[in-house]
Symmetry: C2
Subunit: 455 residues, 2 copies
Amino acid sequence: MQAVLNFIDNNREKYLQELKNFLKIESISSDPEKKSEMDRCADFIKEKFSELGLDKIQTLNRDGFQIVYAEKIIDHNKPTILFYGHYDVQPVDPIDLWKSPPFSGEIRDGKIWARGATDDKGQLLTHLKSVEAFLSTSTELPVNVKFVIEGEEEIGSPSLGKTIAAHKDLLACDAVVISDTSMYDDKTPSITYSLRGLAYFQIGITGPNRDLHSGTFGGAVMNPIQEMCDLLSGMKDKNGKITIPGFYDDVLKLTKAERDGFKKLKFSEKAYMKVLGVKELFGEKGFTTLERTGARPTLEINGIWGGFTGQGAKTVLPSKAYAKISMRLVPHQTPKKIEKLLKDYLKKAVPKSVTYSVEALHGGEPALTSIEGKAIQAAARAMKSTFGKTPVFTREGGSIPIVVEFGRLLKAPVVLMGFGLATENLHSPNEHFDLNNFHKGIHCSAAFMNEFIKQ
Amino acid sequence: MQAVLNFIDNNREKYLQELKNFLKIESISSDPEKKSEMDRCADFIKEKFSELGLDKIQTLNRDGFQIVYAEKIIDHNKPTILFYGHYDVQPVDPIDLWKSPPFSGEIRDGKIWARGATDDKGQLLTHLKSVEAFLSTSTELPVNVKFVIEGEEEIGSPSLGKTIAAHKDLLACDAVVISDTSMYDDKTPSITYSLRGLAYFQIGITGPNRDLHSGTFGGAVMNPIQEMCDLLSGMKDKNGKITIPGFYDDVLKLTKAERDGFKKLKFSEKAYMKVLGVKELFGEKGFTTLERTGARPTLEINGIWGGFTGQGAKTVLPSKAYAKISMRLVPHQTPKKIEKLLKDYLKKAVPKSVTYSVEALHGGEPALTSIEGKAIQAAARAMKSTFGKTPVFTREGGSIPIVVEFGRLLKAPVVLMGFGLATENLHSPNEHFDLNNFHKGIHCSAAFMNEFIKQ
């Protein structure tokens, strides 16, 4: 095992260069113009699989962006770990706020800066490189390994569920490991045992059949932006409670033990506010910030647009207004039910003076797993030995819809072992990944495989 | 006089070609990239002045877009008419909704289609062409004429007030004629005796100091779009009343005679709704549509933007949100007072969890003139003889801030003699101008000069 760890240390520069090359590919899954980049990125991973000497390298799906697969089966009597990750990334706008080009992979301050650095290219690469360290040093892998790397995570993984279902035997495993979450802070490793689900919608409001002069027609017809504001404003009250009827009906209440667990984490609201540059926090009354972001459902407006948005003054009364909103869900809420509740709300709230449309863009179930399992405990030991500190078990606010699917279809526990930091600007300009955590992540992945066979 | 009218009829095609050339110039005053087009447009008008043989052709101002001037003084004992118009036009977006390119001046269905066709190039050209008809036929002009054509009307005429003040003697006149308003309908000429004023603002809300991941941070901080929606929604109630404290304090109440006058106009709500494609109208409770658009103050959201507005789903919790809003004012409201009331409202309503900015972009006083004056009565007779129908006196919802300034500085009555139609998409895609009204407008302008000296 020492040979493996030495190999990882000695190849730090080489691994960094590989990550940089990975990050240079502009694999934005939501952008129709980046289709060839998506294919290039899938090919890049297959090439890495091939360099490692993995077997059965293939694309599992026909429709949608490639879900690439590879495996190394050492011994059928050994347990099997399936590593999941995604090579697609978020869009880069607003582009002018990036300090270095989003696909340059510039290195400064001990970090690598690029879209996808922490979410998820940097994190997923740790597992490829840990396996490489075993194979390159002729150290026997403690477990059989399988890789499933997809390219549609940022657009809701539309192909992954059915692909897993279609390849249940090929993908059979004893645990699924996903590194697509964050550490509690830069000194405290953490294992996420719960993720929020997601229900994402686009709402459109149409008033008059064309843009009108606000002087000539102002005051006579419902302004679609006004109606949109009324609707969105009407979805949340002054206490931060979501007022869509029935929204909280299925919410699993936090146990006293969980609330105590949150309290024990040394969370500083003051430091949090400073980092975010706000003078006051705002959220659901009766809950702490960690509870609000990790264990309570939320509704956020992700985007809004309508009318004249250029420089200066144009006195238009617009025809249309749009908004994107999303709800983060907690057990036992479901995107289907939330979609119905939203549609019921709109049906009742929208007046006859406008028409509206609502489109469900993205959905995922919330997840909650036991922290007592063999895999999660092996991950905890690996993290402790790598980072020198016992990990905390956290609930994370983000969503990885596929976590639920993996557990359900493969009947295997899913371990969320994150090496990223919540402050690494995932989904924002200037995304980055701490190089020290990249390096430790590779160590931790190797340690995990070792620990998994121990007990 | 018959020679003049014949000349106008015989030159219909030539005038149309000139209008087309005028409309091909992309004189968007709010677009910094169109500066050279603005200069080209001012030069075009000077050239027209020159072709007519007018005198003292010049640019009156040094700063801002050119205010061009020319005159023809026949006899110092004759009265003088000053014609005002503007050669700048509104932006063209959304460009994809135009059926023909906005600066092509395509002719179809008896109309000319282009940005600026009715607002105001087509309308202002009528007066140049009526003067041309007198001069070309060696018919003595009944009055001395002066032209003031500016290029900043669509951005609030920032240079015109001080320019008038600096050239009071040069601009001295007995009446100002402006054709920048609409006829009541395509068969009914009208003279506008009141215009609404305008107070236009841009509001910005900043929440966290950068875009955040809505999963990780959602629920913990105030979303600036949410706050913007709350603020905008809070400015108007379900009865269409504006709820900014003090907003209605200075509103001059409609007299019974005025309300009766509105009632007499055969206004069909059904036809109006059909044209606009809405199933229900919405406006201030207790007032009719004509009162709402002509004689009551309004507040419209002209634009809103923030967060992710591209295709698909991006789970961002944005840092910033913006909106443009404008109020139409009636006597005796003032933009200054309204700005103060809005700022007071925001100061009180915006919570500590976000910061805000508010910028006054554009303002103009409302105008109300007597319908008994000599000039307005001459205009009424000219319209009756040209269109074959007695004009109605209307209050118009739009704003021409400079109307107030002209009256105040030159101590001359301002006559608003509109040849456009409210349905001609001014400020919208597919702006156009009825060619019959263009032609009649030239006749009417000539008739007005004749009528003015009659009584």
